[in-house]
């Protein structure tokens, strides 16, 4: 209670200023003096439910692009460029210099609100929280690095972070150690003609240092890039971004946990909960639902086997298991059946396909036990809903496979040995398998899948960069990309049309 009070007052004061600012001739809006934001105070504006969803999805576009760029090892320049494009489109955020040309207040308000909506949507589980935290930190870092020096200083002054700056006497005392610990920085910043030690000396002489607890800069500590003594790390001012980011991460991480605890109270709100639940499951590209036509046109039951080469690993595994066991259990039938529907297998053909696949079954058994379900999937039975194929999020997070099940995501649900065998069968060279196991151990299942796509297509000689520009988050997305690229290869003119 006591702690929260001053914050509430400060906020009240801020809204006051905001109102005042609207009326007066203030150039930069006082609610958002900088485009950088630590998101300490929740927004208190009225917005429509539509806006609520739109803002959230727009921000999600940016975060997903960030994730894609980061994890597919794009170069710094490349990913920066890509991010700028996506940001401009979905979440433009102009600096104070551009205050005349753009509605800076609106932009920053949207940034502010969308951040808090996603907090609500992504605080529910550890997995979601850590994903959100990672992307938000990356976004903050991206923005911070783009900011001008003056803006950075103004922003930090405003935050009042207490970092101890090393005085000249203190610096003199540990000068030699600072020099020895600056090998990396020296090699980054100074001329190439002098010896490393000389460069390091010049670097330390010209640089200011902060003294902080080593826990604040784990990244710099683990790479042995700073001098450490008695638990204090001496961080060059050029690495300030590490400190700011650490501060940002800590605060957001705590805030997310608090939000998670508060969330149950919101469950009563009938308008917002469905939106929120939808957001964290949201697939940003196509959902391959009823409105979209089958990717491969009309597919017949006989053609399915010839298309398996375009299937993502999860579906390929289901197909192989189906052929091997002449059966699939419910979870597998759902995941695979809806996938087939979306690639263009119509209901009549689906019934033929499954009937033939379940070869050991009598007609009667099939009709009683399975046909209904297949028709149900196509919206012909029960509540007649037209079901959408499962996206990766759903496959990865819900209904994990148990004994005898073959559904799920190979990257998420296979043992590391089986996964390695699978990758081996895909022709992934031994040297690169490690990259996959690393991605998987860090829970980047989509990234691993995307990497596999790029790699396998490259093995077949296609130009990978042209195939997927974003992360694979839907099995049908893999199919589409693979199918279209093979069509394009057959017919060079088709490429230009699509």
């Amino acid at each position: 209670m006591f702690k929260q009070k001053p914050r509430a007052n400060r906020f009240a004061e801020q809204t006051q200023r905001t109102l005042h600012g609207d009326a007066g001739q203030v150039r930069v809006h006082s609610a958002y003096p900088s485009r950088l934001n630590f998101y300490l105070v929740p927004p208190q504006y009225e917005i429509t439910v539509d806006e609520f969803e739109e803002f959230a999805l727009d921000r999600l576009h940016v975060l997903k692009a960030l994730e894609g760029a980061q994890l597919r090892n794009k170069s710094r320049e490349e990913s920066k460029q890509q991010l700028d494009t996506v940001s401009d489109k979905y979440l433009p955020l102009h600096s104070n210099q551009a205050v005349k040309a753009h509605n800076v207040f609106e932009e920053r308000r949207k940034d502010h609100i969308s951040h808090f909506i996603l907090r609500l949507a992504y605080c529910r589980s550890e997995e979601l929280r850590s994903w959100f935290l990672r992307q938000e930190c990356a976004l903050f870092r991206h923005r911070y690095e783009n900011e001008s020096m003056a803006e950075k200083h103004a922003f930090l002054d405003d935050l009042q972070l207490d970092w101890k700056v090393l005085s000249n006497e203190e610096k003199k005392e540990i000068f030699e150690e600072l020099v020895s610990a600056s090998a990396w920085h020296a090699s980054q910043y100074s001329g190439q003609n002098v010896g490393l030690k000389e460069r390091a000396k010049a670097f330390v002489e010209s640089e200011g240092f902060f003294e902080v607890n080593f826990e604040r800069v784990p990244e710099l500590v683990s790479r042995r890039l700073v001098y450490i003594r008695n638990g204090k790390a001496y961080v060059p001012m050029s690495e300030q971004v590490s400190l700011v980011l650490d501060e940002f991460r800590n605060r957001l991480s705590k805030a997310l946990e608090v939000t998670a605890k508060m969330l149950p109270r919101m469950d009563e709100d009938e308008r917002l909960m469905p939106v929120l639940n939808n957001i964290n499951k949201q697939y940003l590209g196509k959902d391959y639902g009823a409105q979209t036509k089958g990717t491969a046109g009309a597919v017949t039951a006989d053609e399915v086997d010839s298309l398996v080469a375009h299937f993502p690993p999860c579906m390929r595994h289901l197909h192989m298991s189906l052929r091997h066991d002449k059966h699939l259990r419910h979870g597998g039938r759902m995941q695979y059946g809806l996938f087939l529907k979306a690639i263009g297998l119509p209901i009549e053909e689906a019934l033929v396909f499954w009937r033939r696949a379940f070869a050991n079954m009598t007609e009667d058994q099939f009709q009683k036990g399975y046909a209904y379900n297949i028709r149900h999937n196509y919206g012909l039975e029960g509540k007649r809903a037209d079901y959408k194929p499962y996206d990766c999020m759903r496959i990865i997070t819900s209904n994990p496979p148990s004994t005898g099940d073959h559904h799920g995501c190979p990257f998420r649900h296979f043992s590391s040995q089986n996964l390695e065998e699978m990758l081996f069968r895909y022709g992934v060279p031994q040297t690169q398998i490690r990259e996959f196991t690393n991605l998987v151990s860090e829970k980047h299942f989509n990234v691993a899948c995307t990497r596999l796509f790029e790699l396998t297509k490259k093995l077949q000689g296609a130009d990978a960069s042209a195939l997927v520009r974003e992360l694979i988050t839907h099995p049908n997305q893999w199919f589409e990309a693979s199918y279209k690229s093979s069509k394009a290869a057959e017919d060079p003119n088709a490429m230009q049309i699509s």
Binding site: S180, W184, G195, P218, S222, I228, R229, G231
Partner: protein
């Protein structure tokens, strides 16, 4: 059996397994009473009854003298003689801990994290309500990680020659942890067979997050890479202060240990392995040929040859020196088992266990005098038993001493006592500081 008396209704699965195991152990010891196994059982019983330092052990893990959550929310795991493994035990105080130890006679005790609730209640709790919050920062250095460089023994075996690797590890890490990270309360322990453990027990160390633990471990790790990689150390020409300090230690040991005791440059097989660390194949071949031609050449001379050859092949002084340093580091710098250190809920064998194979007590090591520590002289159960009998016999000196003081365990216990007393002193000082704060 007091543990069960409280639990008339819902027997825990663990309890059932536990009592079956106890029964089995008793059964085994009765039918095999003439064999070593039973001897071990009896001696272990004597050890837990007369030698295990319960009080100081409690004071250590409790970080105070009155029981608090540091102790009663702490996980202990036991391995019984029947190979049954019991996790998530916890105890209210030293007395309850002692009773359970003496009842179960575990062959191994593991210490886990301090949780948000009592580990023995784990099954009644929601997973969110049972989270690990604190644990000592621990390090585990095991001789098996040195198998690719040591030539004297392999696997579980050790001798005084290879023990020196451990001495180096203790010295290097002790200095780094104290000077770089400012930790003061370090307990080094012989693991009973072929390695050492370190328990960093400062309050700040206990509260470190997994990320910070990981940062420390990566900072300390220099030898990196699996069996596939031959060159595992890459150094900058300008050595980080922490590594310069380590190098001072390593240089003291390297010529003696690697060149003389391990004879690494004596045989083509081992010297070629060392030469693989030089990236230039021409240099490697030149050295190999030269040494093949002169089998009597001393290791010291060969060591000097390496640098000469580097300098003769367009390496400048700094680059040649870096290669030499990389070799020294790869052959002597401590090798850590990082999983143990990084995860807060990872268990590690407790001090004062008795290793079931060697029968040696896991005793503390004083880092100041670790050069003279000899693992082969660490008291075994049989020796403790003997010493106790000798002392108590009519020919003994007859002064009335505690059981520990009658044996060769005494000096090790003293190291532990000093360690715990320093911790307690700090806690007392802190409390005083706090109460002054209130007065102001």
């Amino acid at each position: 059996m007091p543990a069960l008396a409280n639990d008339d209704f819902g027997l825990h699965d663990d309890d059932v397994i536990m009592d079956e195991a106890v029964d089995k152990a008793i059964f085994r010891s009765t039918i095999m009473s003439s064999q070593d196994d039973a001897d071990y059982g009896t001696l272990l019983r004597m050890f837990y009854q007369r030698f295990f330092p319960y009080k100081m052990y409690f004071n250590w893990l409790n970080y105070d003298t009155l029981p608090n959550k540091n102790f009663f929310n702490r996980e202990f795991s036991f391995t019984l003689a029947s190979d049954v493994y019991l996790r998530y035990n916890s105890f209210a105080d030293a007395e309850e801990f002692r009773r359970e130890i003496e009842r179960l006679q575990p062959v191994k005790i593991d210490i886990g994290a301090i949780y948000t609730a009592k580990p023995k209640d784990k099954k009644q709790l929601r997973p969110q309500a049972f989270q690990p919050v604190e644990k000592e920062l621990v390090f585990d250095i095991d001789m098996t990680d040195y198998d690719e460089i040591r030539t004297c023994c392999s696997g579980g075996a050790i001798c005084l020659k290879c023990w020196e690797f451990m001495t180096i590890a203790v010295k290097v890490l002790d200095e780094a942890l104290r000077q770089d990270f400012g930790f003061k309360h370090l307990l080094w322990v012989y693991s009973g067979r072929r390695g050492v453990h370190c328990w960093v027990s400062d309050e700040t160390a206990r509260k470190l997050s997994n990320d910070s633990r990981k940062a420390i471990v990566t900072y300390l790790e220099v030898v990196k890479g699996g069996a596939q990689a031959s060159k595992k150390v890459r150094l900058n020409q300008l050595l980080h202060p922490s590594l310069s300090r380590a190098l001072d230690v390593l240089k003291d040991y390297f010529p003696q240990l690697i060149l003389e005791k391990q004879h690494v440059l004596a045989e083509p097989e081992t010297w070629n392995k060392l030469l693989e660390l030089i990236s230039d194949q021409v240099i490697r071949q030149a050295l190999d040929e030269r040494w093949q031609a002169d089998p009597t050449r001393s290791a010291q001379a060969k060591w000097k040859d390496i640098k000469q050859q580097l300098l003769a092949s367009n390496y400048n002084e700094a680059r040649a020196e870096t290669v030499m340093r990389e070799i020294i580091f790869q052959y002597t710098y401590p090798r850590l088992d990082d999983n143990v250190s990084v995860h807060i809920n990872h268990l590690l064998k407790s001090p004062f266990c008795v290793h079931p194979k060697t029968n040696r007590v896991c005793v503390p090591i004083d880092p100041q005098t670790c050069d003279s520590f000899n693992p082969l002289e660490v008291p075994t159960l049989a020796r403790l038993h003997q010493e106790l009998n000798d002392y108590n016999s009519p020919y003994g000196s007859g002064k009335s001493l505690s059981d520990i003081e009658k044996t060769s365990l005494a000096p090790y216990i003293k190291i532990f006592d000093t360690f715990v007393n320093e911790l307690l002193k700090e806690v007392r000082d802190q409390k005083r500081g706090k109460s002054y704060g209130v007065l102001k």
